[in-house]
């Protein structure tokens, strides 16, 4: 008697809630539960403007923004919040952190809800959110296609031409050093694993791959070794500097022209404007030099996506917001103008917000047109579940290689050993 009453109540409730959700799905607003509430963690500057725009147009799905510290910090915080049982519904996540968060049950596979979004993005970008599987773990937000920034005035002064291949790049570095000991073409930074990963992607590296039910780990693949050998040679020859980037000394070197070029990413102008303010209008951007003459490939340095959490009770609404934010023309224009990001969505890359070059590059009117051509050529990449270990080993082993004068390829081997060792210790299946 009692049990059947309970069952009856349950069925009624289920039916009612089904009906409500059906009605809601049909777009009518008859539910009296109030709007769906979503929380969103992000570190992008001024992203509240994008959230406000959504809330103004979508009274039935209310998004509440919570500003977070960027990059690695948000990962630690998401892991902790997930363990405590109260993660947000949505979070901004760097591409290389996605597998870590998926592996910790923080992010959900949203392939069934977000599969259609794929067409909005370049292939290389999309691969970073699928790990090369059928799953979709986030919607891409911004991309970091790599390009070469160089001091046009100093190139002219020293009679250098912009290198189109890495061989030419090496020769340019030598030609410069033959003329002066006060300048370097650029520096090799043991402090920026994301930079090295981008350069390796361009050479065709595949550090992780999913092979059935096991990971294939090849951080020391031929492409990566080639990149390491190339830079190691230049550092040993002393035609490229070996000091880390993002130090007061590096800022000074960019500002006073000690360094003539910087292989960097699309967000480079912002960094140059902040760290080398005196050099406005003297830089130009070109595609990254190529490994094979006539080829057209680049890698990504940085970039982030919007993920939906496994514990979110409103997955569908969350995906709807994430897709809108990262693909809708009005939303991406706000992202570009207010948050100063380079959108991952292809259409947004030619949007009105990117018609003019960055102020620091006013001398190069076709900056963003060229940037989009480059962005389209970004190689895909599958990130693994312990990128943090690989990155940490990069910093230590390349720094040691520089100070001890040992071969850079040994540092790559150390990255491979540490990555595989850590995965093995944790119990991941690894294909031999």
């Amino acid at each position: 008697m009692r049990r059947s009453l309970g069952a009856k109540i349950m069925v009624t409730t289920l039916a009612a809630s089904l009906a409500t959700s059906l009605v809601a799905a049909c777009g009518s607003d008859s539910g009296d539960d109030g709007p769906i509430e979503l929380t969103f963690w992000s570190w992008a500057p001024e992203i509240e403007q994008v959230v406000d725009a959504w809330n103004a147009d979508n009274p039935d799905i209310k998004v509440t923004l919570s500003k977070q510290a960027g990059g690695g910090d948000i990962v630690t915080k998401l892991l902790t919040a997930n363990q405590a049982g109260n993660p947000p519904d949505l979070a901004q996540v760097e591409y290389q952190s996605l597998p870590t968060l998926v592996s910790n049950d923080v992010l959900a596979d949203i392939a069934d809800l977000a599969g259609d979004a794929q067409s909005a993005f370049a292939e290389g970008v999309w691969q970073q959110v699928t790990l090369g599987t059928d799953a979709v773990y986030a919607i891409p937000q911004d991309a970091g296609p790599m390009m070469l920034y160089y001091r046009a005035d100093l190139f002219e002064q020293f009679g250098l031409t912009v290198p189109t291949t890495w061989n030419e790049f090496a020769q340019t570095a030598r030609d410069l050093r033959a003329q002066t000991t006060d300048h370097y073409l650029t520096t090799f930074s043991a402090n920026d694993p994301g930079w090295f990963a981008g350069l390796a992607q361009q050479a065709g590296a595949a550090w992780w791959a999913i092979d059935g039910e096991a990971w294939r780990v090849t951080v020391d693949d031929p492409a990566t070794r080639q990149v390491a050998e190339f830079w190691g040679g230049l550092v040993t020859e002393d035609v490229v500097d070996d000091q880390p980037m993002y130090t007061p000394e590096w800022n000074q070197a960019l500002n006073d022209g000690t360094l003539l070029a910087w292989p960097s990413a699309i967000w480079g102008p912002g960094v140059l404007a902040g760290n080398a303010a005196d050099t406005e209008g003297r830089w130009e951007m070109a595609p990254l030099p190529q490994w094979t003459a006539g080829a057209n490939v680049t890698g990504n340095w940085g970039g982030s996506s919007t993920g939906v959490t496994e514990k979110s009770p409103h997955r569908e609404a969350a995906v709807k917001f994430a897709t809108w934010m990262n693909t809708d023309p009005a939303a991406t224009e706000l992202l570009v103008r207010e948050s100063a990001i380079y959108p991952a969505a292809r259409d947004a890359q030619t949007g009105p917000a990117l018609a003019d070059p960055p102020a620091f590059f006013a001398n190069q009117p076709d900056f963003y047109a060229l940037a989009q051509e480059i962005a389209d050529t970004a190689a895909g990449f599958t990130w693994g579940p312990n990128v943090n270990v690989t990155y940490q080993t990069y910093m230590d082993s390349f720094a040691a290689a520089i100070t001890d004068g040992t071969p850079f390829v040994d540092a790559v081997a150390a990255m491979q050993t540490a990555t595989v060792g850590d995965m093995r210790d944790n119990g991941f299946s690894i294909a031999e």
Binding site: T76, A135, P248, T258, Q392, G427
Partner: protein, 311 residues
């Protein structure tokens, strides 16, 4: 008095004995909550590990399991921990004597009769202690980096060599220098205060006996300062074993400092860079034990000498 008698004779013995515990409760609660519990949790974590199955991408593919002493074995077998520990011992062997020597020297100089600008010098020597270690390291980082260093500018102007103060051979001394700059003032103040507590009659009688200021310092002040010197030595030793902020802040500026340069940096790396809280907990427990043994060992060693008269 009558109150005490009445309480004692009254039948409220239980309440009386409870009173001190009531007063102790807040302190004990704080001690347990902020000290014992975290330590216990760290010990617990150090015996655990993560176990992933398959790709680690599906739901529930990652569980926490008991690891026994595996984390301790791994930590002790890691050569970088030993290298870091030896580096820290070398750092302490250089830093502690120099720091306390300078602090003692300054304290004695300031304690001499008729010192000009005593108050100003005292504050000037103490002031660096008020600068947080991270800020101090950033400032020194600017002074060390060849491109921004005024030292290098001056040497360049004089046509001298261009030393890299953050190079492999020099970075160790660069870190010692920051700690020295920040720590001398504090120890100087402690020693100076202890000096002020020595009865001036002693100096007076020494002078009557024909003691020079130097002899007073050597034969009276320093022996009487021994307890304070022992205390500052223990504090400095503990601070030395915990060296972290200075090398951590300098690390991004140079290739010469690895992420495991000191044991605490290794703990930080494990906990926050490579997300292995279990390894970090095990190393923490080891470092805490070593610190405990060393500081108590030193105390035992010097106790009789320093506090002999109190026994």
């Amino acid at each position: 008095m009558p109150v005490a008698v009445r309480t004692r004779s009254g039948g409220r013995r239980g309440r009386r004995t409870a009173v001190p515990y009531v007063f102790l409760t807040p302190a004990v609660a704080l001690f347990v909550l902020t000290f014992l519990l975290p330590i216990g949790y760290a010990v617990y974590l150090s015996l655990r590990k993560v176990q992933v199955s398959g790709l680690g991408l599906g739901r529930g593919s990652r569980t926490e399991v008991f690891a026994g002493l595996a984390n301790y074995r791994a930590a002790l077998a890691d050569p970088t921990l030993l290298t870091g520990a030896l580096r820290v011992f070398g750092y302490g062997a250089l830093l502690v004597p120099v720091m306390l020597g300078l602090a003692l020297l300054f304290a004695l100089l300031l304690d001499r009769p008729r010192v000009g600008l005593q108050r100003v010098s005292r504050i000037a020597i103490f002031l660096p202690y008020a600068v947080p270690a991270v800020i101090a390291s950033l400032l020194w980082g600017f002074l060390y980096l060849p491109a921004t260093s005024p030292l290098n500018d001056t040497l360049d102007w004089l046509g001298g060599p261009q030393p890299d103060l953050l190079g492999t051979g020099t970075v160790f001394y660069a870190v010692v220098n920051i700690a020295l700059w920040g720590g001398v003032g504090f120890n100087m103040i402690v020693l100076f205060t202890a000096l002020r507590a020595i009865p001036p009659e002693l100096y007076e009688s020494a002078r009557i006996d024909g003691c020079s200021e130097l002899q007073i310092a050597w034969r009276i002040k320093i022996p009487l300062l021994t307890p304070a010197l022992v205390m500052t030595t223990v504090f400095t030793m503990i601070a030395t074993l915990q060296v972290f902020s200075e090398p951590m802040t300098l690390r991004p500026l140079t290739n010469s400092i690895s992420s495991t340069w000191t044991p605490l940096m290794k703990i930080y790396r494990d906990a926050f860079a490579t997300d292995d809280r279990y390894a970090a907990a095990a190393t923490s427990v080891i470092v805490a034990l070593v610190t405990l043994v060393l500081s108590f060992g030193f105390l035992r060693l010097v106790q009789r000498r320093a506090f002999g008269q109190e026994r």
